[in-house]
């Protein structure tokens, strides 16, 4: 049973990353390979603010989130908007280039060692049926779910969120109806970066942050988004949790060396049976 608890913990991070993928996918139709780097930067930022500048968490976290919005918007303006005669492949490759640059910057600025920050809440082991969960893992799960819920509210209720959905339904029509598509794209990247930074902030006390982290995090998040069905909001969340639980499950029943292979095997199997992911529709579910 322990695998369920550990699976949900890592799965909720995958879910946040998958949501970042989905938001950008829905507004631009591309996969942002730098999404994992946003998580890395989140960890690095909170480390800098807490451990180097010694700010209290309640000031440091909002600052990091603000920085995230700025980084995401800047990312879109520098890398995405400037591409001449853009097409899907080119835009994806530019995000790969951007991820290399971010990783390089991460290394130059924060060095090669793994960094860690003190836990935000007191460490406590919660004894659950057939397993344990730490208070910090619980925090990760709660923060991820709260983030997902408030984001879905944002898309459903606020007028800006509605503009996002219009943009996804039909870019040209949205443009005609007075939605500033270019601004929405920039915002999409800002929100994706925000999600990444949230994931980075909550995981750093548990599993540290290293400048190379982005690759694997991004990959897992992408896998989660695909598993759930690209573009599907709750699909991404479900995909993330499922992926986390699969990994934990395979690590606990198989020779653990093969766990990644089996996790990917499951994803392949899902794709063969449901080519649009578990919850994806022909034109994937709306935000």
């Amino acid at each position: 049973m322990q695998f369920i608890y550990s699976g949900i913990t890592s799965g909720s991070i995958f879910a946040l990353v998958a949501l970042g993928f989905n938001i950008i996918y829905n507004t631009t139709g591309i996969i942002n390979f730098a999404q994992g780097e946003f998580v890395m930067i989140g960890g690095m930022l909170i480390y800098t603010l807490l451990s180097i500048y010694g700010l209290p968490f309640l000031i440091a976290a909002p600052l990091a989130l603000l920085a995230a919005l700025f980084i995401g918007a800047l990312f879109e303006r520098v890398f995405i908007k400037s591409v001449r005669s853009p097409n899907e492949i080119k835009l994806i490759t530019i995000t790969i280039a951007a991820s290399i640059i971010l990783r390089g910057l991460g290394m130059v600025i924060w060095g090669r060692n793994s960094l860690s920050v003190d836990a935000y809440i007191p460490y406590k082991v919660l004894e659950l049926p057939a397993g344990t969960l730490t208070s910090n893992s619980l925090l990760v799960i709660i923060v991820s779910l709260v983030t997902a819920f408030s984001l879905s509210l944002f898309f459903k209720r606020s007028s800006l969120g509605k503009a996002f959905r219009a943009c996804y339904d039909d870019k040209i029509a949205a443009g005609i109806c007075g939605v500033d598509v270019s601004k929405i794209r920039m915002l999409a990247f800002a929100i994706a970066a925000l999600l990444g930074v949230i994931a980075g902030i909550v995981t750093t006390p548990i599993s540290y942050v290293t400048y190379t982290d982005g690759i694997m995090t991004g990959l897992k998040g992408f896998a989660a988004a695909i598993l759930g069905g690209l573009g599907s909001f709750w699909g991404g969340v479900a995909g993330g949790l499922l992926l986390g639980i699969f990994e934990g499950f395979f690590a606990s029943v198989l020779p653990s060396g093969y766990k990644d292979a089996f996790a990917f095997l499951i994803i392949l199997a899902v794709l063969f049976l449901r080519p649009k992911g578990l919850f994806g529709k022909k034109k994937a579910e709306r935000l």
């Binding site: 080119k90 490759t93 790969i96 290399i100 290394m107 990959l219 695909i226 690209l230 292979a261 992911g277």
Partner: protein
Amino acid sequence: MRKINYPFLILVLIILISTKFLIKNEYYLSIVIFGMFNAINASCFNILLGYTGIISLGQAAFYGIGAYFAVIVAASFGINPMLAIVLASLFSALVAFIIGYPTLKLHGHYLAMATLGFGMIIYVLMNEMAFITGGPSGFLDISKFSFFGVSIYGEHSFYIFVAIVFFLFTVLFEMFDKSYLSYKLKFIKESEFASKSFGINIFKTKLLVFSITAGITAFNGGIYAYYSGFISPVSFNFNYSIELLTMAIVGGLGTVPGGIIGAAVLTALPEFMASIEDYEMILYGCFLAVTIIFLPGGLTGLIKRILNKNASD
């Protein structure tokens, strides 16, 4: 049926031959050899993405399958390395066929994920099946390479061998590019809908292309294993697949010189930057970004434009 671009092939040949005579330093030769390995792999990737529209992020796996299969078969059964490489190539094509059968029904990002997942699975197997692959520590027991009795060892003789293989593949790619097959693939890429209605069996064509490029990549991988004398899984991980993608795009998708130029530039670039160390990654990323942002057709597109401009002046 277009005319074969003989000036291009002759230029390649001249460069290959003059490299042999001008460059005596093994270091530069080894860079050129790696460049050629990358060029063949990037060209295969280019045929998949640039011609057929198949995004395969698992090419490193086929490269690895070729390398491992060749040396393992040669070591266990004591067969000739060249034969082992051919077998590896066939095996890889078979794997691609089996994997491609369900995978190639997917499209776009889903296909990317499926091939990426396949690459990860193969990577895990290379690591975990230590009893035949040597695991993460690598495979050392690689015999000397000989080709019909001619022993090939060291940068100089390997250069000749790899250059011949590379040139033959380049000719093959060029002949492919100018044959109707490349139109057919581009038709599939442009519109699967339209090409289907013109009687083209898309799935069969894609499967064939996927298998053949996997075979070529594996053939290449086999030679790489013998050249390097040591292989370990890190050389065949996801990053290498991404490198191939960037090579093909920087070079120019959908053209034969694209894969070659992209591989040449991106293989040579880090060598120039070797002493910059910390900033290498950033500069490499910036170079990529600038190429993608400002050169729509990649480097090949740029060269073409310059040539055309000169011609019209």
